[in-house]
């Protein structure tokens, strides 16, 4: 096992229906601390690949080592725990749980996972969340209902939740596609800033190739995926 690899997929085959594989990847390695841009046409299986990396999905064949753990050998609850404590995830939109306030949403990963709670710099989880939200310019919205935020604001809150408790891997699935260009710029800057600070590996999925140059590495899924070959 490569000690520096955050993500290492080997001979992985996955299909929602086992007979028709959607992904067949002989090797995919993402080094720790790298910022990776993953792209490909709609429906090519980008989100599905993220599902395999996070352990929500289990490949039919192959090995999937993420942050030092062989996901295929872990039990389902162990995979969930690994995901929750070591990975931050940002969706395209609607990242926040509607019944919780902004602050509660951000604090949630630390409330659930001891590992993330241990890695906070401030003395309490709430203080940590407030600090993050303040840096994101969200200090006026701490106790607001998430439905009252604009999409750009929601995505910024999502960054705070993804990076609180310093997870080693941050995954973003088309997080900017519902933002206008200004918000997108702000979002990207903030995301990079936080990931650099925590030295987290960043896997960023997007259609938007204009963002591509900012990343250390670009991966076209169709080139890695051998189902079509």
């Amino acid at each position: 096992m490569n000690a520096c690899a955050a993500i290492q997929l080997e001979n992985v085959t996955f299909g929602y229906e086992p007979r028709t594989p959607l992904l067949r990847i002989s090797k995919l390695v993402i080094e720790a601390g790298r910022r990776v841009f993953l792209y490909g046409p709609s429906g090519c299986g980008k989100t599905t690949l993220l599902g395999l990396i996070t352990g929500v999905l289990k490949p039919q064949e192959g090995n999937c080592i993420v942050l030092g753990k062989e996901m295929t050998k872990l039990s389902a609850p162990a995979r969930d725990r690994h995901r929750g404590s070591e990975m931050g995830y940002i969706f395209q939109s609607f990242n926040l749980i509607p019944c919780l306030s902004v602050l509660q949403n951000v604090a949630l990963p630390c409330r659930v996972h001891k590992l993330r709670r241990r890695r906070i710099v401030h003395s309490t989880v709430t203080q940590e969340a407030v600090h993050l939200l303040t840096r994101l310019g969200m200090e006026k919205h701490l106790d607001r209902n998430v439905s009252q935020l604009s999409t750009g604001q929601q995505q910024r809150v999502a960054i705070a939740r993804a990076v609180i408790g310093r997870p080693n891997l941050v995954i973003a699935d088309e997080p900017t596609s519902s933002l206008d260009s200004d918000s997108r710029q702000i979002f990207m800057d903030l995301l990079f800033e936080f990931c650099n600070e925590t030295h987290a590996t960043l896997v960023f999925v997007s259609h938007d190739r204009s963002l591509m140059e900012k990343f250390d590495e670009q991966i076209a899924l169709n080139e890695v995926n051998r189902t079509r070959l």
């Binding site: 929500v56 969930d80 995901r83 929750g84 995830y89």
Partner: protein, 416 residues
């Protein structure tokens, strides 16, 4: 713990539907528990009205009517019994004490009961409590009267005031104007029909009816001052209560009274007669419980519908929770917990509501109809109801939970 907090937050965010479903469950629990409590309360109220009395004796007739009119002042005596028969059994060697009762008059809707001082001395209720005077003392003269607590309060009568009784029950226009009674005592509160009665002496009852033998007022009423006790001859009473020296002798005495040759009499054991009453009432109790049960089913179904229809909107929420590292079984637990919380809230409010209902209804039933109701604690039956409702709520919660589980399994992180 986090799951519990999430469930609470989720319920709170859907305040309106949560309140509605909690309300509908609470309503049915309230009915279910309320019916049970009122039935139990009536039972213990009735049973508590009379204690240490082994036999109730009256004219030949049904045991339940005898018990109802003599002790609970409900209905009327079919026939009188002769005073001689009463004296015969009062002097019986097996008898410890007797309390004679003579009914037939009323005062502003309150029953007038003629008795003697044995009543104040020996009458026991709720397992050995004896009558206590809140004011004044027991009657000494012919035209003295003692008022039950509620009667005194509602009639605004104090010790020393006079009252004119009316002849017969409810709404009679014939009045014993010639013979006003004086209040000499007011009894303390007992929560039994005693509270709503007016007690006079047998002599007083006889005296005010002097010349009324035909059933109509005498043409020339005899004024109070001219009546002497030695002139009076008590001829009949309505019933009497008997305490025997031993439980065994009660059974023998009952047979002896029932076969008493000079006059057809009925002697009943109060507890047995009450059993008859409960068997009559249990059918109504069952019917009411069935209705409440049906309401409960509707309430639980309303909850199921509310949770189930919210499922689709919550697919995204579930995907977020999964991304945050929640296990799929925790998602399942979240949904079961929500329905369980709703039913627990429903039960808590329902039981509280039932007691409130009991408090309100109980007081007015007692005041208006004189049916004694006692507040009783949580019974095994109520405990069973509450547990059953919570379990039913949790089980129904399985349906949306299973659906959420499958949704989440299929969606993974893709639900957008």
């Amino acid at each position: 713990m986090t799951i519990l907090r999430l469930a609470c937050a989720s319920l709170r965010s859907r305040m309106f539907t949560t309140c509605l479903t909690v309300f509908s469950i609470a309503l049915s629990v309230m009915l279910l528990v309320g019916v049970d409590r009122i039935q139990q309360g009536a039972q213990s109220g009735f049973e508590g009205t009379l204690s240490q009395t082994d036999l109730v004796v009256g004219a030949r007739g049904g045991s339940l009517p005898l018990l109802l009119y003599s002790v609970f002042h409900l209905g009327t005596a079919s026939n009188e019994i002769s005073y001689d028969s009463y004296l015969h059994f009062a002097g019986h060697p097996a008898v410890q004490w007797v309390i004679p009762l003579s009914m037939g008059d009323s005062y502003h809707g309150f029953r007038v009961v003629a008795t003697d001082n044995n009543f104040y001395e020996h009458y026991r209720y709720r397992g050995g409590h004896s009558l206590v005077f809140a004011e004044g003392a027991q009657p000494e003269g012919i035209f003295d009267a003692v008022l039950g607590n509620a009667a005194a309060a509602q009639l605004h009568l104090r010790v020393g005031q006079k009252m004119i009784l009316s002849h017969g029950l409810e709404g009679s226009f014939l009045q014993h104007t010639a013979d006003p009674f004086t209040v000499t005592g007011i009894l303390a509160h007992t929560s039994t029909p005693v509270d709503r009665a007016i007690y006079i002496t047998l002599w007083g009852d006889e005296a005010m009816h002097l010349g009324w033998e035909s059933g109509a007022p005498p043409l020339k009423p005899i004024p109070e001052s001219e009546i002497r006790q030695s002139d009076l001859h008590i001829k009949t009473i309505s019933a009497f209560l008997v305490r025997t020296k031993s439980r065994m002798s009660a059974l023998f005495l009952q047979r002896e009274i029932n076969t008493y040759k000079p006059e057809p009499l009925t002697a009943i054991i109060p507890a047995q007669a009450l059993e008859d009453l409960w068997s009559v009432l249990s059918a109504a109790d069952v019917a009411l419980s069935l209705v409440s049960g049906a309401v409960l089913v509707v309430g639980l179904l309303a909850m199921l519908i509310a949770l189930y229809t919210a499922l689709n909107e919550r697919r995204r929420e579930i995907a977020i929770l999964r991304a945050l590292g929640f296990h799929i079984r925790q998602i399942f637990a979240l949904f079961v917990l929500e329905s369980t919380l709703i039913s627990i809230l429903g039960v808590v409010f329902g039981v509280a509501g039932a007691y409130l209902l009991f408090f309100v209804v109980g007081a007015s039933v007692e005041n208006r109809y004189g049916i004694p109701l006692t507040m009783t604690g949580l019974s095994v039956r109520v405990a069973c109801y509450t547990i059953a409702v919570v379990v039913a709520g949790a089980v129904l919660g399985l349906i949306p939970a299973i659906r959420a589980y499958h949704n989440s399994l299929a969606d993974g992180l893709t639900a957008q």
